[in-house]
Symmetry: C2
Subunit: 414 residues, 2 copies
């Protein structure tokens, strides 16, 4: 039998990969599992857009242009204007989800062994995309006690070396739910300008900023127009993860040309998804406002429940629909597995993502988890019951006398 | 401004890339251009499948499993059975077009500088996928005078070295339209077995075999079950290029596991496209039979017309909807550009793909073109008129006294 590639053996895997077969087994055995481990919302895709897709009449489902359907890109221009972002259709390339956007950018911007600075914890699949593109991630550690605020800019600067080509931010953040303010981004912009780096920002959660915080896009930063690259996606905004429609937005013409060279190899982004995506832009803002209110309710439930659990360190997430929590436990991997295999509360349990896989630095996140608040408040409350009871019953629970793990943990996010 | 990657400067481009802006310009100026340069058929996507997609009721367009929707893979099992191919749903991974299938396989099977043997001329984007995966294509040259039949197996064997990991065949072939028989494939199978190589076969045109030739899938070869990998796509079969739905089919469990590691990084293939693809499998064979008859009519028109053009070398293509032709001209790049820029016949001209870009060996294909018969017979006849008149009028036409370029060229494909 011919052997697979050596590199394939080192593809980084999802933080909860090992738990999936266990979850499937216990569900088959009748246990109810509340899935807070994945970013698949239970929110309905906008019916108006689905209906428009269903009524669209065409006879041939042709390749779209490699850069995406022009009428869709034109409507995106109007969409971005709502965030005071002024771009042209030519500065937008439609991709097969934000996942492909990142892969195209990594090929177009990085050569082998180039370095990318990335605050950790970060979305775990960035590791895989870096692996494929042979670039090195230089993590800069954010800590839960600070609500995962960005470290001082001097810490970023220390990481910059001759191989550094960019800084990557996810705003609002998956997996931490952290929101970065205009001031946060301007501080990074100074560094980006000083060292002439790319500034990549994944803005797929831009609609989901809470507590009256106003989203600020890096596309509005002055003096680094050619450095800034934004990744986007309709997956979360319109609960249309299966559409696989994302985008790259940049004013850097060389980069656009380069990305298109790669994009042409795969011919075109999904055509039906683009029709749906374009239809979402014919809607008013009611859907988005309603969805944001729903996530905000869930966020408050989650925050309140985590704050009430003894020994748990949490914070008020400012955006997206994720948060991290630190538990008084020996090991989050073991705890998450135990929750599935050994535990139930009235026939139910909860599935979480162990934190370690979201860090590049070994040894971090071992007592942390990521929680995605993708369930309605009734199910979320039930899931929190399970978590609370589980934390009480878990054999690997640490004593709360350990001062590192005890005490008041209300840290409002900035 | 930060610079793009060095590797991005070397992404291989489409053979007709430089002609596209010229074609757009002359069309804007009012010239009619018959596009025989691209594999975008004018055939309608099956209405029954589109209607089914339109009437499918779901509330959330969720991620599908990374390997694709199970019910679709189950129906594919039944589809493959029609070709006597026995596979299970677990041996099928749904991809974002055959383009992604190839990219996933190149990552999963090859390490840097590994070698792949590929008969040329070949689909030009294979160059780009090899570039991204850092593998080296070792071309084995097929010649038009042989109707692009595969060279003797000894020639394949000469190319096999310590870095060789696989042989890649497209059957029926894009860009040559060549059909490979069971005997052709069994000869390669012997070699694959002897050296324990992967045998990758792109079978996206399996429905389109003419002259009562019966398609034989490499999945039926005995004794090399773990070596064989098939790539598939609904793009051409159902004229649904924009759906972006392909597949990898193999019985090699290690390879399936490895591909899935990569596939999980991009979360899932397009959801709407999968619904459409599944709907095509609820239809009977009428659509495919009608489409095949239509392509066969076009093939006969094209063949007859090319055969009647003095000095043109052509052959009867056995499958797909492409053929190559060798013209009595100085240079196909110049000729194709001249057809667009300088020539018209009654206000119309024809766009072809220069042949050079389909070869990896420098200097080959300079007087050849690829012709895609993706237009109905009326338009195809009109396009052939333009070509015939263009060949007569072209200033770079070679004298027919050159014996290499003259003479009878009816070479039936095997």
């Amino acid at each position: 039998m011919p052997s697979i590639s050596k590199r394939a053996e080192f593809v980084p895997l999802s933080p909860f990969r090992k738990l999936v077969p266990i979850a499937n087994r216990v569900k088959a055995e009748g246990k109810k599992v509340y899935h807070l481990n994945i970013g698949q919302p239970d929110i309905e895709t906008p019916r108006a857009a689905l209906d428009k897709l269903r009524s669209t009449d065409f006879r041939i489902l042709e390749y779209s242009p490699a850069e995406g359907i022009l009428s869709y890109r034109e409507k995106l221009v109007a969409y971005y204007k709502k965030f005071d972002i002024a771009v042209t259709p030519e500065e937008i390339i439609i991709t097969t989800g934000a996942s492909e956007a990142i892969q195209l950018l990594f090929q177009a911007c990085f050569d082998r062994d180039d370095e990318l600075i990335l605050p950790e914890p970060f979305y775990a699949n960035y590791n895989g995309f870096a692996h494929i593109a042979n670039l090195n991630i230089k993590p800069i550690t954010c800590v839960i006690e600070d609500g995962f605020a960005l470290p001082d800019i001097a810490e970023f600067e220390q990481l910059i070396g001759p191989k550094t080509k960019g800084i990557f931010i996810t705003n609002p953040n998956n997996p931490t739910g952290c929101f970065y303010s205009r001031e946060d981004l301007e501080a990074i912009a100074d560094l980006v300008k000083k060292y002439d780096l790319f500034l990549f920002v994944d803005e797929v959660y831009r609609e989901f900023c809470y507590d009256d915080q106003s989203f600020y896009s890096v596309l509005n930063l002055k003096g680094i127009e050619d450095n800034v690259v934004v990744m986007d996606s309709i997956s979360k905004r319109y609960s249309a993860c299966g559409a696989r429609i994302g985008a790259i937005v940049t004013r850097n013409q060389c980069l656009l040309d380069s990305v298109i060279r790669y994009a042409k190899l795969r011919l075109s982004p999904p055509g039906l998804g683009q029709i749906l995506a374009e239809a979402t832009l014919d809607m008013d803002d009611t859907y988005i406002e309603t969805v944001k209110e729903e996530y905000d309710r869930r966020r408050k439930v989650l925050y309140k429940r985590l704050q009430a659990m003894p020994g748990v360190i949490s914070y008020r997430p400012g955006g997206a629909f994720y948060c991290f929590a630190k538990f008084p436990i020996d090991n989050a991997d073991n705890f998450c597995r135990w929750l599935l295999e050994e535990f139930d509360y009235q026939g139910a349990t909860v599935m979480l993502s162990p934190g370690e896989g979201f860090y590049a630095t070994p040894g971090l996140g071992l007592d942390e988890v990521r929680i995605a608040y993708v369930l309605n408040t009734v199910n979320l409350e039930a899931a929190m019951h399970c978590l609370e009871k589980g934390l009480e019953a878990y054999p690997g629970r640490k004593s709360l006398k350990n001062p590192v793990l005890s005490g008041e943990s209300l840290i409002p996010n900035r």
